[in-house]
């Protein structure tokens, strides 16, 4: 059931995580299972408690001076990730009116805005007027479209922890519709404040109590001892373009976005659904014209959620994917929330090109030992078809199937 219209392929990838700036830096660190988990130190993440997580390094030195003011962490990461993807895809030579941008995520700058408000809590009359533009997630769109020439449209899409994949799916649709020749999908950095951290912990989604004193062991997706996700700042940009355009320009094609699916379970809140996830997987594969047996590698949501991980394993079984290689990107860089889906697709593409799959940190006693896990050492693997999964609060399930471009 191949889709009509231009065949969408990825021609640029940009990545920022706590491991560093750039895809090569990240790939090297991923393959040896490095991590940067610790106590979160960015101002606005404390308020009487300590929370575990991983924070990106300072990017100030890598960014242009003009417009650096009022960028915030999310803005800096967005520009850095987009810069890398943009440069790789050679978009500077292209007609800006044929380039679009979709930013995945909502309420992106909770911490930054909290800090701005706190600064003038007792003198509100001197609140910076820029707050009026910065509190909007679309400020990231404005920031990126001003740093790069993007005039084909830029907006945000929100799907909780599935936002990153939603952005990629929307970018793919934009290219398929012919409205733009290239569309950047940005999984934006979620700049959480202590309020979100506290609530995510108390709702039972975020860890860790069991490993509060051992940050390096707290993030353990699919392991029996997991007790919630661990937050990790990250941002990824993926350029989706028509295969025809990519060939004509002679740029590298990472993979084809062969299939995707977005579904909802029909209920509010964080509870996952194995049935919903399995249906999403099946839909994405059907759209791609790929059978479960052809999928060599799955990059799951794998957040470290007690219920979520078990549900996802159930869904993989129902979908006939027990043979596929499986690792958890979040075990290395944590849960990027709005960014996660894009980060994980970026890592999937990097692994496919490298012919190696990164380890899953802290996977000592997996939920289901019969699945084809990458444990604590990287493995070599030839992957032509990969499936990425993201699951968001509100029963939002997304799946993207990519096929390596061989010609």
């Amino acid at each position: 059931m191949r889709q009509p219209g231009p065949r969408p392929v990825v021609t640029g990838v940009g990545l920022v995580t706590a491991l560093g700036l750039g895809k090569q830096t990240n790939l090297r660190a991923f393959l040896v299972g490095e991590h940067r988990f610790g106590v979160l130190t960015r101002p606005g993440r404390q308020h009487g408690e300590q929370y575990l997580g991983a924070e990106i390094p300072s990017l100030a030195a890598d960014l242009p001076v003009a417009g650096r003011r009022h960028m915030g962490v999310a803005g800096e990461a967005a520009v850095a990730a987009t810069e890398e993807a943009w440069a790789e895809a050679g978009l500077a030579d292209q007609d800006p009116r044929r380039i679009g941008l979709v930013v995945g995520g909502s309420n992106l700058q909770q911490r930054e805005m909290l800090c701005v408000r706190d600064r003038h809590a007792d003198r509100p009359q001197y609140l910076s007027p820029t707050y009026a533009m910065r509190y909007l997630d679309s400020d990231i769109c404005g920031l990126c479209s001003s740093h790069f020439s993007i005039q084909g449209g830029a907006w945000t899409v929100g799907g909780a922890s599935a936002s990153g994949q939603l952005a990629i799916i929307e970018a793919t649709r934009m290219v398929q519709s012919g409205e733009v020749d290239a569309c950047i999908a940005l999984g934006a950095l979620a700049d959480l404040s202590h309020w979100e951290l506290r609530a995510l912990k108390s709702i039972g989604a975020m860890g860790s109590e069991r490993f509060a004193e051992l940050p390096g062991e707290a993030c353990r997706p699919f392991d029996e001892a997991r007790d919630g996700f661990i937050f990790g700042e990250a941002c990824a940009a993926v350029v989706v373009e028509s295969a025809q355009s990519a060939r004509a320009r002679g740029v590298y094609r990472w993979a084809e976005v062969a299939g995707w699916a977005v579904t909802t379970d029909g209920h509010r809140g964080p509870e996952p659904s194995a049935e919903g996830e399995a249906w999403t997987i099946g839909s994405a594969l059907a759209r791609a014209g790929v059978t479960a047996a052809q999928v060599e590698y799955v990059n799951p949501h794998g957040s470290g959620s007690v219920l979520g991980d078990a549900t996802e394993v159930d869904a993989l079984r129902r979908s006939g994917l027990t043979h596929a290689w499986l690792n958890a990107t979040k075990s290395i860089v944590g849960h990027g929330l709005s960014a996660a889906g894009a980060v994980e697709l970026a890592i999937t593409l990097l692994q496919m090109r490298e012919g190696m799959l990164h380890p899953t940190r802290n996977l000592e006693r997996p939920i289901d030992g019969s699945l084809n896990w990458v444990y604590q050492r990287a493995v070599t693997a030839e992957v032509s078809h990969a499936l990425c999964l993201s699951i968001g609060f509100g029963g939002i399930n997304t799946a993207v199937c990519v096929r390596r471009c061989d010609d």
């Binding site: 001076v65 003009a66 650096r68 003011r69 003198r123 009359q125 001197y126 609140l127 910076s128 007027p129 820029t130 533009m133």
Partner: protein, 85 residues
Amino acid sequence: MTAYSWDEVLEVVRKNIYEVVPESDGRAIDPDDLLADLGANSVDRAEILTLSMEALSIMVPRSQMAGSASVRELVDGLRDAAARP
């Protein structure tokens, strides 16, 4: 009410122009320069005004400052507001 000298207020405004428009840092700011010519767009000008009011501990209604296109006009407006009881 505070009596600031013209130069004191000019210094406050200059410092805030450099802060808000870092590309202008390093060039001399003349009182007759237009803020827009120094690279300050409308948002920048609103910020320069707010930061300057804060530094001088005064509050001026925006409508009163709306016409301040040059550094001189901004300094005059702020100084007058500071001098009022």
